[in-house]
């Protein structure tokens, strides 16, 4: 499947245009959110509890109606049921009817997605096998552990071979081995060109998987970009030397760059223009400093996230 030439001919897999949502009691869940997710992209949405992440996903899936604004999935307005034909959704805290077995639940949801007969049965069994539930396919869900329910939740996402997936905390309640498996599945989907919209509190997970990240705070999309863009710390470099750098060399350097600071391994310099790093290296070598490593400094996603929040904790480092 080639999402770039999808049937809908949509330039974006997801379009959110100036979406506002106000719940009863004047609770502003979303305030003019606008974003686009390209086909084949993995987009991570970060935010604190109550930031509006789940509300945004629910608006995209027509579970919640926006107060203002419009959303489209694969080029079709979210209000139309057909917009969800090629969509898989794993809600946070999902709950299956406990009178179903793993297999009957998948067949039930597959039926609602328009699948039937032998292909549906085969698909259900294949997914149960893929998510390690083949042994429990005839067991009632009420006897499942949290991890098993989460894996079943993921299995139902893939029933209709969706091109667009919404995953709300997909690894919640799953053990480390299971998490690695799920990450592997998502990476495989990414390679196959599927679009994934990921809500997660696990920043490391988002950092590993996502092409782009949006940070939602109090209903507003405060940051949005690629991981590299968000974590970039500007023209800040760390230089490690074999021996301590003499103080006069550091002072001479200080006169040529925006700032310089001695560190245990060497120095950290901040330049006005990253092209100036060549001159720094030339000066150090000319003064006989034996260089061992030159690294571009980056912020962690956690630092970026915390610093993006309006009322961020005081210890949160600025990017």
């Amino acid at each position: 499947m080639e999402p770039a030439t999808d049937a809908a001919g949509a330039a974006s897999a997801i379009t959110v245009a100036d979406v506002h949502k106000t719940f009863r009691g004047d609770v502003h869940a979303l305030r003019g959110v606008t974003l686009e997710v390209a086909p084949g992209e993995i987009f991570g949405l970060l935010g604190r509890n109550g930031a509006g992440k789940t509300t945004l996903v629910k608006i995209l899936l027509d579970l919640v109606r926006p107060t203002r604004g419009a959303t489209r999935l694969l080029g079709v307005t979210s209000r139309a049921p057909r917009a969800r034909r090629e969509v898989g959704y794993l809600p946070e805290d999902h709950r299956f009817p406990d009178y179903h077995t793993a297999e009957s639940a998948l067949r039930f949801y597959g039926g609602l997605s328009g699948l039937r007969g032998a292909p549906l049965r085969a698909r259900a069994r294949e997914l149960l096998g893929r998510f390690g539930l083949a042994h429990a396919r005839r067991r009632k869900i009420r006897g499942f552990s949290k991890g098993m329910k989460q894996r079943l939740g993921l299995a139902q996402v893939f029933l209709a071979e969706p091109r667009l997936l919404f995953l709300d905390e997909p690894t919640d309640g799953v053990d480390p081995v299971g998490r690695a498996q799920i990450r592997g599945q998502l990476e495989e989907l990414k390679r196959r060109g599927h679009t994934i919209f990921l809500n997660s509190h696990l920043l490391s997970e988002v950092e590993q998987l996502c092409d782009r990240v949006g940070i939602l705070d109090q209903g507003t999309l405060v940051r949005c970009g690629t991981i590299a863009e968000l974590t970039s710390a500007g023209a800040r470099f760390a230089v490690a030397a074999a021996d301590p750098i003499p103080a006069d060399v550091v002072a001479e350097l200080g006169a040529r760059v925006a700032s310089v600071q001695a560190t245990a391994e060497g120095i950290e310099v901040v330049l006005d223009d990253e092209a100036g790093i060549d001159a720094v290296v030339d000066l150090l070598r000319a003064r006989g400093v034996r260089l061992r490593e030159l690294t571009r400094r980056r912020h962690s996603l956690e630092q970026v996230f915390l610093s993006s929040l309006r009322d961020a904790p005081p210890e949160g480092p600025a990017p």
Binding site: V87, P91, R95, P97, S104, G111, L112
Partner: protein, 434 residues
């Protein structure tokens, strides 16, 4: 269609999982076992004719299961019942014939009862008081009175001849093709012969229908509805639990269709469950009575209609409160209220409350807007009677239901009631954020 089958399958699984449906099936199994334990013996024509003539009286069938005796002879006539003989000169081709020689002990007494019989005072209507001062009846009138009386007991052909001018001594011959529709005197056995019940005022067919009616009342009545609503009333609240509905609404199916299919799935499941229960009871009854009744199996339809009428109430309350048991109880209350309104209305009519009185107007309005659950059940029983009894037998059976509503009104207003609640549920469900 695929989505409907998925939701129907879900309703079926839900029904199988619920204990309340298990209770219903268990009770149905007990009823079926009880039906299997019955043993019917058709009345003996000679015994029956003797019994009928000796107990010449005016009885009424007005009101369900009411067989009150209004006028009875003070002095019993002498009846010599016997097998027909060649000298009786009876027509050929009569089935189950019995003949009797009748000597009326007190003509004046006999005439008093005969004057009040249906045909003179009208079927089911209260008899006129005895008029001792009236002229004695002629022999012809007495013979007609006996013939009418015997036909009302289930005899299809009655031949009477006067042996004297006054008509005090009579020859009576009676026959019927349908022994099972001949009123008493007969017995039926319960619990595989452990108990024996003598019957003298009902026909075997009526007893079979009464057993069937009892089963129908069990399922379409308060008990059946309680069980069915407890099993299905929580369908929507369960679907609307946090995390459950998200999984459904994220599918490519509109909310209105989702609700309609959920409703239809539950109704179809109830139809199947009740059809199985009626079917099992019909089979066991047929093994004992010798007659399988499709009409009895078809009683699943009125039962399902009653459920289909009150289930939307549970759906609406379920969408508003998200509480399954509360939704089921609200629907059950609606069912009970409809029954009360219908009963009060019948009593008002019987009591002769005049049109235009405020209470009657209020009751009439309530009756028109509530589902006709009781009336639909009655129509089902009448359909049962019509299919299982001969024309004459059905006419006698029908007298038990003098105030049965017409089908169009009953089904039409009930459908409107269900449509209103279903529409309101869909409207609310479509506008809500989840």
């Amino acid at each position: 269609m695929i989505a409907f089958l998925a939701l129907f399958g879900d309703a079926w699984r839900r029904a199988r999982d619920r204990r309340s449906v298990g209770v219903l099936l268990f009770v149905a199994a007990l009823v079926a076992a009880f039906c299997a334990s019955l043993e019917f013996t058709n009345p003996d024509p000679r015994e029956s004719l003797k019994n009928h003539l000796e107990n010449f009286s005016l009885r009424t069938r007005h009101g369900p299961a009411s067989f009150g005796i209004i006028h009875k002879l003070r002095r019993m006539p002498r009846v010599d019942a016997r097998a027909p003989a060649a000298e009786d000169d009876l027509p050929l081709g009569l089935d189950h014939v019995a003949v009797a020689d009748l000597e009326i002990a007190d003509l004046d007494d006999f005439d008093g009862v005969a004057r009040a019989l249906p045909g003179r005072s009208g079927p089911g209507r209260p008899a006129a008081p005895r008029d001792r001062s009236s002229q004695p009846l002629t022999a012809r009138q007495r013979m007609d009175a006996i013939a009418g009386y015997l036909r009302d007991r289930g005899w299809e052909t009655v031949i009477t001849r006067a042996r004297d001018d006054a008509g005090a001594s009579l020859f009576v011959a009676a026959s019927t093709e349908h022994l099972s529709e001949l009123e008493g005197k007969w017995r039926f056995k319960l619990l595989f012969g452990a108990g024996e019940v003598p019957i003298d005022s009902m026909t075997p067919a009526e007893v079979v229908i009464d057993v069937q009616r009892t089963v129908a009342r069990l399922l379409a009545g308060m008990f059946g509805m309680l069980v069915l609503l407890l099993a299905f009333g929580g369908t929507l609240p369960d679907l609307m639990q946090k995390g459950s509905l998200d999984l459904l609404l994220a599918r490519p199916i509109g909310r209105a269709r989702l609700l309609l299919f959920t409703y239809a799935g539950a109704v179809l499941t109830v139809l199947l469950v009740t059809a199985v229960i009626y079917g099992v009871c019909a089979v066991t009854l047929s093994l004992r009575s010798g007659h399988f009744s499709w009409a009895f199996v078809a009683c699943a339809l009125p039962t399902t209609t009653v459920f289909a009428a009150v289930f939307p109430v549970a759906m609406l309350v379920g969408v508003v409160t998200r509480h399954g048991n509360f939704a089921a109880l609200a629907a059950l209350a609606c069912y009970g209220a409809a029954d009360v309104v219908a009963s009060l209305r019948t009593q008002f009519v019987d009591a002769g409350v005049v049109n235009g009185s405020m209470w009657k107007t209020v009751l009439e309005i309530l009756w028109w807007i509530t589902p006709k659950t009781g009336e639909i059940a009655t129509l089902g029983v009448l359909r049962l009677g019509r299919s299982e009894l001969s024309a004459a037998g059905f006419e006698r059976f029908r007298q038990q239901f003098p105030a049965a509503a017409d089908a169009l009104t009953a089904y039409g207003t009930t459908a409107l009631f269900a449509a209103f609640f279903l529409g309101a549920t869909i409207l609310l469900f479509r506008r809500r954020d989840f």
